[in-house]
């Protein structure tokens, strides 16, 4: 299946959802999106990192610089309570949107 670029506005939702699985760094989040979507979705790094920093400034995620086993410095992101609330709201909105589109496509 060809990889699909994310629809505008959906990247934040996916990042927040991935972080419900546990704290992760940017590369891990990107990998998770690829894995869970079975290579169907591709979060380009050019949009992933600005999105992560935007989410942090919004208070939806918090981050901390850590040092990995092989002495590399990585920033690990985790979901905040505000981010969890936002995820709940955006999930409901997205489900409603997706259902509406599906209904139209299946009409007739």
């Amino acid at each position: 299946m060809p990889k699909t670029d994310l629809l505008q506005g959906t990247l934040d939702l996916l990042i927040l959802k991935i972080l419900t699985l546990g704290p992760n760094h940017g590369w891990g989040i990107s990998n998770r999106i690829r894995q869970i979507s079975r290579d169907g979705l591709n979060a380009s790094q050019g949009s992933l990192y600005p999105a992560l920093h935007r989410l942090e400034l919004n208070g939806d995620v918090a981050s901390q610089m850590t040092t990995s086993e092989n002495n590399r410095r990585a920033r690990v992101y985790r979901l905040t309570p505000a981010g969890r609330r936002r995820l709940e709201g955006e999930t409901a909105t997205w489900e409603h949107f997706a259902l509406s589109i599906k209904r139209i496509l299946q009409a007739g």
Partner: protein
């Protein structure tokens, strides 16, 4: 909001550190990606080339991240600078403007509160704001659709977000007293759950129980405060007595305080015919009542639901109760 302010303050305080951390972060990403490509069989040079291609350019990504932070910072900084400049240049005007704004907000809040009480009053029950009334409207006749029993039963069975659901209607009945006097009273025939919705405790005896709704149960009545005082002389031994309500002989099982008023009807006395409760009230005794929030429903939708689940009421309410449930339903959210 607090989380956002903290995040913003941290971002400002650590602006320089974050800039170098972004470089570390992207380098980490690049190295992880190279390792992943190597693990899949690519040569180190090819892996690096692919990783850089996928990353979309390190410099561009760094610039995009800085832009995000700069937009945030510049917006607030710009607003703050402008505010301070205005205070310095026009202190009187700024103070007057701020005060006017504060007063306007206060007046607006007070007006909203006042009109809210008038237009959407809360019921005088515990958590009265959480009680709403549902009425079925028939747009074809611009009037109430009173055949909502099946909908009521479906709502009661399926609703997950409400605490309880009750239904009632008001009818006129003749109350025949012991000395053969006949007093016309307004009776509210309700489901037992209506008392749970309002959380009204009886002044004496008990309110209605679910068992009173069962087929074959004896007819019972809960007296309202006004009728208990006027028609029964406030006698404490009224519990257990039988009274004639229309053509039905009912047993008084309780009495409740005068404050139980429903939807603008006169103040009530409780009376239950077979498996229903009535809430009769002395005629002409006034009582403004409180009209709770209403939600109007499309009656045709109700009928369709009714047809899909036809017959679901059997065994739940007796015939009298079925009639009683047809008027209105009050729910506690």
């Amino acid at each position: 909001m607090l989380a956002r302010l903290i995040a913003y303050a941290r971002g400002i305080a650590r602006r320089r550190a974050i800039s170098s951390e972004v470089e570390d972060e992207l380098r980490f990403h690049l190295e992880q990606e190279i390792e992943a490509h190597v693990a899949r069989g690519a040569s180190p040079a090819e892996a690096r080339r692919r990783a850089l291609r996928d990353l979309g350019g390190l410099t561009q990504t760094k610039e995009a991240v800085r832009e995000v932070r700069a937009i945030w910072g510049s917006g607030l900084a710009h607003d703050s600078r402008l505010g301070l400049r205005m205070v310095r240049k026009y202190p009187g005007l700024t103070l007057a403007g701020g005060l006017a704004l504060a007063i306007a907000v206060g007046i607006g809040a007070a007006w909203y509160d006042f009109t809210g009480d008038l237009l959407r009053p809360s019921l005088p029950f515990p958590d009265g704001t959480r009680i709403v009334e549902i009425e079925m409207r028939n747009p074809m006749i611009s009037g109430d659709e009173r055949r909502v029993l099946h909908d009521f039963l479906i709502w009661k069975r399926d609703a997950r977000l409400i605490g309880d659901l009750g239904a009632y209607r008001t009818v006129e009945r003749n109350l025949v007293l012991g000395d053969a006097r006949t007093e016309p009273v307004t009776v509210a025939e309700t489901t037992a759950s209506a008392f749970r919705v309002t959380r009204v405790r009886p002044l004496m005896g008990r309110t209605l129980l679910d068992g009173d709704e069962q087929p074959g149960a004896r007819a019972v009545i809960v007296l309202g405060f006004g009728v208990w005082q006027q028609q029964f002389g406030a006698r404490p031994d009224v519990i257990g007595q039988t009274v004639q309500l229309g053509r039905t002989t009912t047993t008084v099982v309780g009495g409740h305080a005068a404050r139980l008023r429903v939807s603008g009807e006169p103040q009530a006395v409780g009376a239950a015919s077979t498996s229903t409760v009535g809430i009769p009230a002395a005629r002409g005794s006034g009582g403004s009542g409180v009209r709770p929030a209403r939600a109007e429903c499309d009656s045709s939708a109700g009928v369709r639901r009714d047809h899909r689940t036809g017959g679901s009421s059997d065994g739940c309410l007796s015939s009298d109760a079925r009639a009683s449930a047809s008027a209105r339903a009050g729910i506690r959210r």
